[in-house]
Symmetry: D2
């Protein structure tokens, strides 16, 4: 059975640790966190050991794979170290805050020849995956319009936004990846409108909280992604693909299926309170795909290159946002 360690046991790292622990194809060999108390807590609830020095993981030849779930600014370093140690890697997105640095990390990992999967877990949401199957089957024909909605329930702390790279790199990047994955196409042109409509403090740290990005793909598909950092109604995610033969939609999800009919209204349960409740299941599915790929010796997907390409889209969209002009991609 594949022995896996989890590096970084904050919120998402702890989720990965639990998933590794309960997955029948892999066992949780160790956990590490810069804060040893965090690591110990995660170890206690999963029945594994916490290590105080991450080298105990990288230098342990029995550990075959690692999940990197540390803060983004350490991804590149851990990717390099894990690659040099010959581990299979599951790395949380994004690769790095800086595109050039990320590109170099990818080079290094590629040179080491280890299998790496990037944690774009939304690809494993059963609804989005079913939508993509419909698209791939040709059921909607040639793709003409793609619409995506990405709206989080609450504005993150301003301190977080200040170092996040901006809404398009931090939030919308997931949807840039979904767009490439669903369309199996690449962007030729992007234009972004954005503003700090939720809170003027967002503008003070140079960020936006509300945006509409439009893109044209190489085969002509027109795309639109709207993002908001704060809804008044939970976590809102929706994808719609319109093609020459029809439309397929991954609908807004309701937290529960209860309706109340009263007076002239029907009151139903709303959306999930947060992004995690909505897509929790996809983390396990993503890990499962990683374990299968490593066990079977096939390349895991999404790849680090997918991560780089989504980051490039986010960078170009950010460039458009700043210049107020559409940006074309070099061919």
């Amino acid at each position: 059975m594949l022995k896996t360690a989890v590096v970084g046991t904050g919120f998402i790292g702890s989720v990965h640790a639990k998933n590794v622990a309960r997955h029948p194809g892999t066992e949780l060999a160790a956990v590490y966190d810069a804060n040893l108390d965090f690591a110990k807590r995660a170890a206690a609830t999963t029945g594994t050991k916490a290590v105080a020095d991450v080298a105990e993981i990288f230098d342990n030849p029995e550990i075959q794979s690692v999940v990197i779930a540390t803060p983004t600014n350490t991804h590149v370093e851990y990717l390099r170290r894990a690659a040099q140690a010959g581990k299979a890697i599951y790395c949380e997105k994004p690769i790095g805050l800086d595109y050039q640095e990320a590109e170099q990390a990818v080079e290094a990992v590629r040179a080491a020849g280890v299998p790496v999967m990037l944690g774009f877990n939304r690809r494993f949401d059963p609804n989005h995956a079913a939508l993509r199957e419909e698209v791939k089957s040709g059921a909607v024909g040639n793709l003409e319009i793609i619409q995506m909605t990405s709206r989080g329930p609450n504005l993150p702390p301003i301190s977080y936004l200040a170092t996040s790279g901006g809404q398009l790199r931090d939030q919308t990047v997931h949807f840039f990846d979904l767009l490439r994955w669903i369309s199996e196409d690449e962007a030729e042109e992007v234009y972004a409108f954005g503003a700090a409509l939720v809170d003027p403090k967002v503008a003070e740290v140079g960020d936006i909280d509300t945006s509409i990005v439009t893109l044209r793909l190489s085969r002509g598909t027109l795309c639109q992604i709207d993002s908001s950092r704060r809804t008044g109604y939970g976590y809102d995610e929706r994808i719609e693909v319109f093609g020459s033969k029809g439309l397929v939609e991954s609908r807004r999800q309701r937290a529960r299926g209860v309706s109340r009919y009263v007076g002239d209204k029907v009151i139903e349960d709303g959306l999930h309170a947060g992004w995690f409740e909505r897509i929790e299941q996809s983390y396990y599915q993503a890990l499962d795909a990683f374990v299968s790929a490593i066990t079977n010796g096939t390349p895991p997907s999404p790849s680090l290159e997918d991560g780089l390409k989504a980051q490039l889209l986010a960078d170009k969209a950010t460039e458009s946002l700043k210049s107020g002009q559409p940006v074309k991609f070099a061919k």
Copy 2:
């Protein structure tokens, strides 16, 4: 063009008068009501003449068809007169309050050989009609369970209930007809549970306001019809047919298609405020079917016999309600 007169211009008679006036295949020749003022008002809004004596309609050889929309206790008389005068007849349901009397009227009409259609307009609701088409096409296979919901928004006046024949004869009778029409089968056994849960005054006049009727049809299908005289949320009508290959449902209808997402709820527009808003369209469709049948010389449907059979179901269900025992139908 078919010349049609409307006898009785209360609420539903006025609806018929307007529909006759705007239907391209027939023209409104005259209207009559026991209350001449009512007739004059209907005549004014439809551009026809009001007659003070109904004989002016029955004796006028140019008038080829009549719509009977008078109070139920006069249906039998007008059916006989119209039949004797050789008119094609569209008669509002029910045929009469008393089953024996109704049976005799049917005999008389049959003897006269005129075409008659009974106004079970719900058969012409586009949703129910589409459900029946699915059933007839075999899409759900052999019918195993049929469920119907019939719930009106407000308790009618107690004075109305006192002479209505009871909930099963007055309200549920429409669904007894729909059941026969959808299943193309006849009941073998019926059991009814009922009570005055809405208002004890309903019990004082010997009626109920809430009921569940279960039936077994000759080919084995099990059926359930629940009826209420008062919802807190508008007019609620729903049909579900479960068969060996699947399920088909004519869903609850919403008055409008607007959703509001706020907090942890989604608030949508509710059902139609009343039965008329919900099924208004079916009156025109029913008239259209009548005009087509008369014009083409084909027998109109639903027939008077359909009316009799639905009344028999209502009578037997009422018998079960009173005895507290299931009632079997003679073969």
Copy 3:
């Protein structure tokens, strides 16, 4: 009772003629069409007279109001003539093909001081109207994102497109009007992406059939309108308004409410086959608003100025489409 004439009895003119005929607050005094046979047909089904010379309408002092439903290139002329004759006017959109000419017609009408309503009938769709009421009530707070979908079932004839002014002026213009009406705000900037994805012949006549228009309004709201000339699934219209307190949506409408559960699918009735089935009701509502305004002596809405402003939006969006650059509106 208000005496109204209908000028132009093609498809939409005939709809107006029928609605005038059945509206209790107005009567249909006459109809005119350049093709007298068309006018005679409309007259026959509505019980009015057809006139061979439109002057018989404009010169008749008993006719108080006119509905102009002729081809767009004659609107300006008839607007002038009707205004000079002192008639109240209901004019089909758009005012004219050319913005300058339209502006001059508006001046002329304003000088005459007659009441004029522009036929942006979608404002009277009960669903869109309910959405706007929610927005006006403050239920969704400050508007942050508005999304609109406008997709017709079938590509119109290429010959029609060649003289239509282009997709943004001909199709999307309705949604530019809805956008102004719902937001009660004006655009500051617009950017349009478009292409002939449905049929290359559309490009040959200089038009597009698929587009995404993004706009920024003066109070910061970000907007997106996608338009297609051809779906594979009927007529698709949807509006979503996202604000600081929640979301309100005027949903896709289904033609009927029937569901079939079979295997691992639920098959439901789809959208309306065409735009007319979807919004037919709004024509009557719009006429009703016109009749009420004229009868009560209040200014009808939407006004000619609303028409001009929607045309300006369409012009600027078309300019952006051609230049490939965002276009800002002069303050």
Copy 4:
């Protein structure tokens, strides 16, 4: 931490074992199955030990609680033994096949004074639980009509049916419990219609596969439960409570949230393939309630008495089915 053993590791016992293993408030001390291989398999995937003799569980003072998930005909024996050993007990439903025997087991357990919870896990379905909260809050007023649908995807093996006690005792019993739990009321009268419509072999073993049960509760509520052993479209469960102020519904659940619009249809993902996919989550929620109750020293619910009362309802409904007459409950 509460030490729990699982007795019986067939399909549902294995689910319980996994849930105990991952629940933070309890640990899985041992598993037992009459088939030691089954027990070993369950032990391997949960990291616990398998015991060959169930006495190793009952005699081990460190084990504080047991989950009984063996075949129904052994429940009574294990309930007695666990009670005598002073364990807290979570027992799968039903208590026993025979009502008298079950009653005696309840006496014995009551005498021992140990806390016992009966595994009516549907009470912990988040949708049904939310419906009940609405009902308890008074949101729908006095209960007038309750409708429940219980339809499984596939006919179980005839050999299973032959010893199951019949559809009403084996399948519908869950809904008898839900009915009592939601209404907080007891039945006064029951009438059942049933037949073998799916497969005549079902009749050969004296059972039915399709039924409609109607009940009247002591406060007047009229209830209807329809059950089928085989749909053509997955697992179908639905509850609707109609009261004096409105309606609340726990809707049919869809397996995924994807819609395809094509032609004149909308094709959506259907229901869950089986009952387990639909209510899997409720097993963990039920265990969680049990662990909380035991840890906090509060009585767990649903109780053994709840189990007895649901069995009594099933018995009386079966009596009605056989006699063809309504059955009243002794007060």
